[in-house]
């Protein structure tokens, strides 16, 4: 699909983001600047950056493709993706901002014994971040190969090097600006494409779905083709919902705003913008189905990931294709930069500073370690991305959300909402949630049937959230009831009691 205009847009995006990093680097002097942009980001800016951090290429391109190929069934994914955001606002944003400093472990550890909490939080955070980052890197390699005609290995090197550069020199300030730029480009792109789809149908949105039903049959507007087990679907929905509220790279964005009020407002902006973008994917998906055709979309990419780009080409010619391709590339850069920063802060702040040095660091040491961790994270993701070429990485996204939902989210809830929670209980919750998620996904149909090609599986659900989330809460509560932590109670009364 690569053409000259697309390449111009590609170069423009790289140049713009490098320029942003150049200016951000001048402002990144202290540890707080690196992790949290000095806490000076405005609520609206943070709302945009949250959109940039969350809406990955798999959301924008993947959801459009799912709708274009499967019709109504594809709508369920954007819906589940959005529903976690109000929970972030109701339950997570304010306590996180009030209690933490740089990472999600800060908020969990504030009233518990810090070392066991930081150790277990680091393990679950790193698992989430690495699984999610690897899935993004492999997806990015294919996408860039397909869109820009760059070989897979070089695509990995370009994305990996760019993200190392942004985070290493610009820290959270550069990452925020890259994410904001991507969010604005994405909003403009989806808006223009939706208008063109509507204009083609005489500005009557239902003429589009009517046409789709006429061409492909009424069942394109009916559910039941992608999933048939209601409990499995509910399980997936729960993992998406609670997972969003437990993803470390999303949670750390709430430290970039000045106070709890700003944290709440930024979550509200993010929810609204993501809601609009996901509503518009409905029209993009059905637009691609009608004006490009399912067969054409599937012939370029079986998963339908090129649907939005093909629609842009069909309705807007090479310029719109170039623009939407640039949006897809900016989307990748924004998400992987956020993930790299999150991984680096876990290593430098939670593990090095919190566990190894126990808070006794020389001036500038943590920032230095964070920068080294950024390079290491970047190199690992490039190498893993290249090594995983041709592998089915969808399971990694499921794993990341499942661990975030079953380990990070329950730990945060127990620590901030329940006075009786103890260090042992919260640590148990994190370990149990992460371990049970990994084990149950390994024996689920996603791995045993789809990847290992067995004709049986030991756990019948594709996502274990329905079981692991309540089981983790129960494990944390039971262990807390059987152990004592008087310090934790005192600090709760002092800081959190209503």
């Amino acid at each position: 699909m690569g053409n000259q205009i697309t390449v111009y847009f590609f170069i423009a995006i790289i140049s713009l983001t490098l320029l942003l990093t150049f200016f951000a680097a001048k402002k990144t002097k202290m540890t707080e600047d690196f992790y949290a942009a000095g806490g000076k980001i405005s609520p609206f800016q943070n709302g945009l950056a949250l959109v940039g951090d969350f809406v990955s290429a798999s959301s924008f391109l993947g959801f459009t493709g799912l709708i274009a190929i499967h019709g109504f069934d594809g709508l369920v994914y954007p819906l589940m993706g959005l529903m976690g955001w109000p929970l972030v606002l109701f339950l997570v944003a304010e306590p996180l901002k009030r209690l933490g400093k740089y990472t999600f472990a800060d908020a969990v550890a504030y009233r518990m014994r810090p070392i066991p909490i930081r150790l277990s939080a680091s393990v679950s955070s790193m698992m989430c971040t690495l699984f999610y980052l690897l899935a993004q890197m492999v997806g990015a390699g294919y996408l860039i190969q397909l869109v820009f005609g760059i070989p897979y290995m070089w695509a990995e090197v370009i994305v990996g090097s760019a993200m190392i550069f942004y985070v290493l020199f610009g820290g959270m300030i550069a990452t925020t600006w890259v994410q904001m730029t991507k969010a604005v480009l994405l909003m403009v792109g989806t808006g223009v494409l939706t208008y063109l789809v509507w204009a083609k149908g005489g500005l009557n949105p239902f003429a589009l779905t009517e046409k789709a039903a006429f061409i492909y049959g009424q069942d394109i507007l009916e559910p039941g083709k992608l999933y048939s087990n209601s409990l499995d679907l509910v399980s997936l929905g729960l993992a998406f919902m609670f997972g969003t509220a437990g993803l470390p790279h999303i949670l750390m964005r709430f430290y970039t705003v000045p106070d709890a009020v700003a944290a709440r407002k930024s979550a509200l902006y993010a929810t609204g913008i993501i809601g609009v973008i996901y509503l518009l994917t409905f029209f993009l998906g059905f637009g691609a189905m009608v004006y490009v055709g399912r067969d054409v979309i599937a012939s370029v990419d079986k998963g339908g990931n090129m649907a939005a780009l093909l629609l842009a080409q069909a309705l807007g010619g090479p310029w719109l294709l170039g623009y939407i391709s640039a949006v897809a590339f900016a989307t990748i850069l924004a998400v992987v930069s956020g993930l790299t920063l999150s991984g680096a802060s876990t290593i430098a702040h939670d593990l090095w500073s919190g566990v190894v040095k126990r808070g006794k660091l020389a001036a500038g040491e943590e920032l230095k370690v964070a920068r080294i961790a950024t390079v290491v994270m970047g190199l690992i993701s490039i190498l893993m991305g290249i090594a995983f070429e041709g592998q089915n990485v969808a399971v990694l996204v499921g794993l990341a959300f499942s661990i975030a939902a079953s380990s990070n989210f329950p730990a945060l809830m127990l620590a901030t909402f329940w006075r009786r929670a103890t260090t042992a209980g919260v640590v148990t919750a994190m370990i149990f949630g992460a371990a049970s998620s990994v084990i149950l996904i390994m024996i689920s149909p996603t791995v045993m049937i789809d990847i290992l090609h067995c004709d049986y599986c030991w756990f019948p659900f594709k996502n274990p959230g329905l079981f692991t989330i309540p089981a983790t809460f129960i494990a944390g509560i039971v262990v807390s009831l059987f152990t004592k932590d008087s310090d934790a109670k005192l600090k709760f009364d002092a800081l959190l009691k209503p």
Binding site: L79, L87, L221, E222, L238, V261
Partner: protein, 69 residues
């Protein structure tokens, strides 16, 4: 008060989400009912739930900000 609102809003949202996902599979015929050509109950539900989620967050922020001020 903040915790009360937080928990009530969360429970409402989770219940709506679970109910919708469950109904999608168990009440397929009803979800597929055609309201007018090109528009089904499922599609109305999809848009309504997204709008509901956004409105709920907005109302929550208004409530909390009013309480705090």
């Amino acid at each position: 008060m903040l915790k009360k609102y937080s928990l009530i809003c969360s429970v409402v949202l989770i219940a709506v989400n679970i109910a919708f996902l469950y109904l999608l599979v168990t009440q397929k015929a009803w979800v597929s009912s055609i309201i007018m050509p090109g528009l089904t109950i499922g599609m109305i539900a999809f848009a309504s739930i997204i709008l509901f989620a956004v409105l709920l967050t907005w109302v929550y922020v208004l409530l909390i900000n009013t309480q705090k001020s």
